[in-house]
Amino acid sequence: MNRAFLIARQEFIKYVTRRGFFISILMFPLWIVVVTLIPQWTAGSDSPRIFTIVDNTGGTWREAILTAIARDNESRDLAALAHYAGGFADVSKLPPATASMLAHPDTQASRRLFEKAGGLDAVRAQLQPHLKPGAPPFTVPMPRYVYAAPPPDLARSPDAKTIAAALARESGPFEIDAVVVVPSGFGPSAPQADFWSTTPRGNLRGFVDDALSNALRLAAVRAIAPNVSDRELLTDGADLESRNPAHTDGSSGAFDQGVPIALAIILFVVSVMNSSVLLQGVVEEKSTRMIEVLLSCATPREITTGKLVGVIAVALTTLLIWGLALLAMMALASHETAALVFSSLRAAATLQTVPLLLVFFLCGLLIYGSLFLAIGSMANSLADAQSLLGPSMLILMLPNLMIAGVMANPNGPLATGLSWVPIYTPFFMMLRISSHPPVWQLWGTTILALVTTALMIIWTGRVFANNVLTTERPPALGVLVGRLFRRRGA
């Protein structure tokens, strides 16, 4: 075993001192940053959608749409102000109602309170005395939708030609994204209007649809309840707040599904990344005959064990570095985001689940690592290895394609069935573990994962001993399967 440890140590040093290790370590967090931040950055820098309305009924419905835009702007102002207050104001010194409004800006109650308090300027005035020293000035968010008066030709005759000219930006100073044409008979009995656009950016169509639908409902309600104000009718709604008993801090657990998915994907990424390096290492050792020197010093089992332990050490180091990178990213993220992420991490990684997560992670890593090691020992060149790796990768990648289906019902028949496919057990159980699968499934799949891992290691040892010194073509699949059950005195 001492020799296995020495080989593991050497493998660890060999891999972590390669440039590729540092690149791969940096690439994954960078990829996460890019994937999460770019949509936010692009959303923030997106220009407003400018559109025009030709209301042939006289202007009632245009007014309804403009009212909806004003309310959308108000909501965005409140959200931006809440974000600003969270970062740069001492919220505890604000009146409790205002503090609560800024803590939960997405609720109907907060929006009502914001309006009642006097809107953006009034609440900014309340906030001003409590800003922290050095706080930057508040930036009013850009509106998502901007109305422009229709060009005269279009207003006079909204036909296909004038609409096309307006959308082609030939008829006015604005870049018009869409033209809404409300026909003269529009109303509850004839609710058909036209939305013209050649650049369907954002959700302008949906926004206009909602605005007109609300206006139609309002008209219908006003007919039977003339005393109810428009504002009241439009703002009333349920505030359905998400709760999860696993979150003792009362947070919603918005990232609860994200944590197991992230763990399972990390298992896959780390396994494939490190196992590929393991495979390349064995092929290189075969081609340079270093493997012969190793075999004169240690048994095939000591070598395979050492290599797999080395890969585990590299993988755990990778995870540690990524964990630290996550902490660093959380320090840069907003307080609310960090709280949500940590709350979901705490909910997923409890005292009961952490040991199982660790077992499944290590089993998954060893299963993938063993497979790659066996492929490496059978291949005489990287080209050989690629031909064996192709079909193997198709099999190993399958679980990634099933994530959505499994997470739609983590304890349903699909998820349960896939959890009992031996080489997929670690992956799917990591996905499901925070969804509280039945105890018998937890025990059963844990035993299955451990047995599969042990069998894979034994099989890899035999394949390695049989093939690592040969320069023959890789053996047929039947021969390989046979080696799982046949003893060999190497």
């Binding site: 270093m290 012969e292 075999l295 010093c297 190497a490």
Partner: protein, 313 residues
């Protein structure tokens, strides 16, 4: 302390339908240098790998240092035919790593590796990566890796392959030095000059089977002596002299006649015949056959080229 370092008894190794080593038996005494000779594909490397425990024999038994190989792995040194070291490792670390696998403590291994590199004139290169060394330097590092842990038994597979004449001489001296320290050495080669200069005993393999085992003198005794003569006249009359097996005239442009003598004959009858015929000789010598001649004679009948097989035997 056992006196027999290696003992192979009726060892056979097959790869599918191909028999790489056939019923091979021999024993090697402590402190000797054994030359393992044979053409390509004779089974030399396969036999060495079996002695190292890298390959299991299909039949027969192998005892090394009186025990099974697994128990004495750390007491064996091995230099493979095709050199292999981790290219990105530094020279001293590469040697020390293999020494730790052979049971040395890391600090001791590193100190010993540096000491040996200094001794081999590679002191300035001990922190250089293997990929940065010349081929000759890398081969020296590999040789040092094989013996850094002070093994009792050293196996060298084609140790002179790829070395220039200066490095070959240095390696010969190093092998002699190892033998002087009491180590037992087995090396395979198909360069007969090295075997002639270094070996106490020889084993010749052909097509997986042992065709000779013995000392250099015993090997030379397998072929009759050969006389070489030169004169200004035709020496063809010597063909009828008793004790002459075969006579060959000089090659074009060459002065020497070659006379193969029958077993036990010392060539004096040739001189007597020339004296009687009053034929003055300008050159006369009688020498034993070279190991090369013996080797060609022994394996010539068996050797028809390396067989197609998966192992570089």
């Amino acid at each position: 302390m056992t006196d027999t370092i290696v003992e192979l008894s009726h060892v056979t190794k097959r790869f599918g339908d191909f028999t790489a080593v056939r019923d091979l038996s021999f024993a090697l005494k402590r402190g000797s240098i054994l030359g393992f000779l044979g053409p390509n594909g004779a089974g030399k490397t396969t036999t060495l790998r079996m002695m190292l425990g890298i390959l299991p024999p299909d039949e027969g038994t192998i005892r090394v240092l009186g025990k099974s190989i697994g128990e004495v792995r750390a007491r064996i040194g091995y230099l493979p035919e095709e050199r292999g070291l981790y290219k990105r490792m530094r020279a001293d670390a590469a040697i020390a790593y293999l020494a730790t696998l052979k049971g040395m403590k890391r600090a001791d291994a590193l100190a010993r590796a540096r000491q040996m590199l200094d001794g081999f004139g590679l002191g300035d290169f001990k922190r250089v990566r293997i990929e940065g060394l010349s081929k000759g330097m890398a081969q020296k590092v590999q040789v040092l890796s094989a013996v850094v842990h002070d093994p009792e038994f050293v196996i060298l597979d084609e140790p002179f392959s790829g070395l220039d004449p200066v490095n070959q001489s240095e390696l010969e001296a190093f092998i002699r030095d190892l033998a002087a320290q009491g180590k037992t050495i087995l090396f395979s080669t198909h360069t007969m000059q090295h075997a002639e200069r270094l070996c106490d005993r020889l084993i010749v393999l052909a097509k997986g089977a042992k065709v000779f085992e013995g000392t250099l003198d015993e090997a030379r005794g397998l072929l009759p002596r050969r006389a070489r003569l030169a004169a200004d006249t035709d020496l063809g009359f010597l063909a009828s002299v008793p004790g002459v097996a075969q006579i060959a005239p000089p090659a074009p442009g060459q002065p020497l006649w070659t006379v193969d003598l029958k077993e036990g004959d010392d060539g004096r009858a040739l001189l007597a015949a020339c004296f009687e015929r009053k034929t003055p000789l300008t050159h006369f010598d009688v020498s034993p056959p070279s190991l090369h001649d013996v080797f060609v004679s022994l394996v010539g009948a068996h050797h028809t080229g390396a067989p197609a097989q998966s192992e570089a035997a």
